[in-house]
Symmetry: C2
Subunit: 444 residues, 2 copies
């Protein structure tokens, strides 16, 4: 079989377009589980590798928040746990920050989800996303970038150690003798580090995947190094094939130094997709959403994407003002958008409108054939192992992709027609990690 593309369905309540909720076809309640369930089932019927859920541990506070559907949403682990019970095969990737969590809780929740879903859990490790988060966890100011990453690295090591608390074959459950688990098949972690002291063991057995799949999205130098060291999937925003190729080559090139081969890390750029039967129909569909963008709301979103700057004081037709580098974990996105504004001489309102759908991700508005051509070019041209698919509105935008684009990818032999494996690791072609602490016991 030729190399297969991986596809993630990036969930966001009403869809990724900031004005999606205003469209007559879109259920506008971000806390309606039925809509998520329908979306998940559409993605699973199309054999997507995974559902992906972003997160923030604060409500947006910009003045235009009242005009977007982004203020309230489900907590990702509870949402994906619920979806695990109404799906069978699709992976479930939730975001959780290392900046305002405890590693024991995070290790436990993802291991629990991996058991609930029979091996479909993934953890998108992020450092943090909004200065507002600090205030909800007893801090006056945000943790600086470098310290955030140092904490993230240690956090990840503790989580991984906790996931390896138990041998895979620890639980004999011998009813006759009364021995439930081998006493030697569990270990305390006894971690003592710069940021954490964690004794262990975890109170969850080693999970079906050994460890839930580790996903990262940081694109800064520090973020890339952390990803090269430990990530198994990287999501990223890349504005062109050339940039995607450079990122792909750079990140894959770092793996050998960490003793890893290129297959152990999958790179999946985000791609914003609007599908139509003709180019004109696709553009018309896209314009329906664009026409609903209140320019002030577009600029509000822009401010958030740049790293939580309030741009409401600037005239809508002014150019993007010079901004200091953000400390908010959005530095790569800030750079990308600043370049875009400069290259195309966009006003604030124009830039806000431009990112209203894909938020800086590569955008494809066209026919199934055109979209498949582009995805294939990236996939075969060293730009991507797969894609995290953003659609303007949910669930219908995903249905468009599932019903029109996926079959075209399947005809070309680029994407599965049915699931071959049962776990997220199997979908992604990632090995199940052995437990280094119990190697001599063997794996089940």
């Amino acid at each position: 079989m030729p190399r297969q593309m991986n596809l993630g369905a990036f969930l966001m309540a009403t869809g990724h377009h900031v004005a999606a909720w205003r469209h007559p076809d879109v259920p506008a309640d971000p806390l309606d589980f039925a809509t998520y369930k329908r979306t998940a089932q559409i993605a699973e019927a199309a054999c997507f590798d995974a559902l992906f859920v972003a997160d923030s541990v604060a409500a947006p506070s910009d003045p235009l928040a009242s005009h977007s559907a982004r203020s309230v949403y489900f907590e990702p682990l509870t949402l994906l746990s619920a979806l695990s019970a109404v799906t069978e095969r699709i992976g479930l990737i939730a975001t959780a920050t290392t900046s305002y969590n405890e590693p024991y809780h995070v290790a436990r929740k993802f291991a629990s989800l991996d058991h609930l879903s029979a091996g479909r859990a993934g953890w998108n490790l992020v450092t943090s996303d909004a200065a507002a988060e600090a205030g909800n966890f007893g801090r006056q100011t945000h943790i600086p970038h470098a310290e955030r990453y140092a904490r993230a690295r240690e956090f990840q090591q503790v989580v991984q150690g906790l996931w390896d608390s138990w041998a895979d074959d620890a639980f004999v459950r011998d009813k006759a003798s009364g021995l439930f688990h081998h006493p030697q098949a569990v270990r305390t972690l006894d971690h003592v580090g710069e940021h954490f002291r964690v004794k262990g063991p975890l109170n969850v057995a080693r999970s079906p995947q050994g460890r839930p799949v580790l996903v990262q999205a940081g694109s800064s130098e520090t973020g890339r190094e952390l990803a090269a060291q430990s990530a198994e999937v990287v999501f990223t925003a890349q504005p062109s094939l050339a940039r995607a190729q450079a990122f792909y080559a750079d990140l894959k090139g770092r793996l050998a130094r960490h003793g890893r081969d290129e297959q152990s890390l999958k790179i999946m750029p985000g791609v914003f997709v609007v599908v139509g039967q003709s180019q004109a129909q696709a553009e018309d569909k896209y314009e329906q959403f664009q026409a609903l963008v209140d320019p002030r709301v577009g600029v509000g979103l822009l401010g958030r994407m740049l790293g939580n700057f309030d741009l409401s004081g600037y005239p809508l037709d002014s150019p993007l003002p010079a901004l200091p580098p953000t400390e908010d974990g959005q530095r790569s996105r800030q750079q990308l958008l600043t370049e875009l504004a400069g290259n195309e001489q966009l006003t604030l309102a124009q830039l806000g409108r431009r990112i209203a759908g894909g938020r800086g991700h590569y955008s494809l508005v066209g026919t199934p054939t055109q979209i498949a051509d582009e995805l294939q070019a990236w996939f075969e041209g060293g730009g991507a192992d797969g894609f995290n698919v953003l659609v303007p509105h949910l669930p219908l935008g995903l249905e468009d992709f599932a019903v029109q684009v996926v079959p075209e990818l399947q005809r070309r032999g680029l994407f599965r027609r049915q699931y071959q494996g049962h776990t997220l690791r199997e979908h992604l072609g990632l090995q199940r990690p052995a437990n280094p602490y119990f190697a001599e016991r063997g794996q089940p």
Copy 2:
């Protein structure tokens, strides 16, 4: 309609009897979601008010842990979220400790579960349960009892404040004007206290129940005062009707001082139930489990119940040694068991065997009529508003109760034949709390 009894189904992987997993009829995998799903559906078919899940944030470390099925289990919020998707009406009560959590996370997860389940979430607030937990969260020693409760009180206030971040009618979702929520219908909490600084608002809308139901289990003086101040359901272990009556009268008597009426707090003692068609058959069923108790395992469980003491050094036929008062949040249970041992002159092995099923909860081993008689006597005699039902093995022990005892209670007019309401509050007869910060806006 006469006053109705409330019933909780206390879930525990293989059942409450410490040797349940050894029984041939019992699925012995504590991480099998299918068993939980079946159990939940049995409870819902019998119209139980709620499922209840206990918790600890540490694996047991006593030497006999290898001989019990209690070392690994699902994290409660992920488990109940998954169960929310495969049930329709039954309440979902999860335990979460205030000692090693952040209020923002706890508020958020329970609000999210309340939305996922359309109003069925409950939070069992505990202070903590095992010294081993401290070591997983950067502490060398456990937080002392008094400080734990002070923290718990402030924690609960912060969570409640966060649950009230949004007016019930905040979200207008006006597609025409583009207004998603009223800008004035959200408030920051700006809490600054002894233990926490939390800005808010919560990034989850006010939930279907207004606030998830608040459950507590502490029976100490401090625990009772906290319950009288804020709890809506209290679980408790009471060894006799007389003691249950005293507890009930004491706790209900405290409510007026906090401006609350007696209906605003439901008291639900735990009751361990083994059902048979005849007394002899019930006793025989119970003995099948008792015969599977390894005495060392019984004593290991006893040590945990007394507050995490290692009793493995004492001879099995010695009396219970004098122990210092535990600091482990089990002080009431310790007192209860110490009295039991003294009154009946039990050896360690005998006491361990005695608690192997109900762990100090009131035990009923008999016919449906006998069991219904006792429950009715407690319910009508001022000892209980309902019961948290513990069964030796799951799912079959609960099925016994559902199929044999519930119909007897229904015949007597003591328990619903079908759900009247949709939310946990409605099942329990608890009012939906108004949002004090947005009273002038009215409720939906």
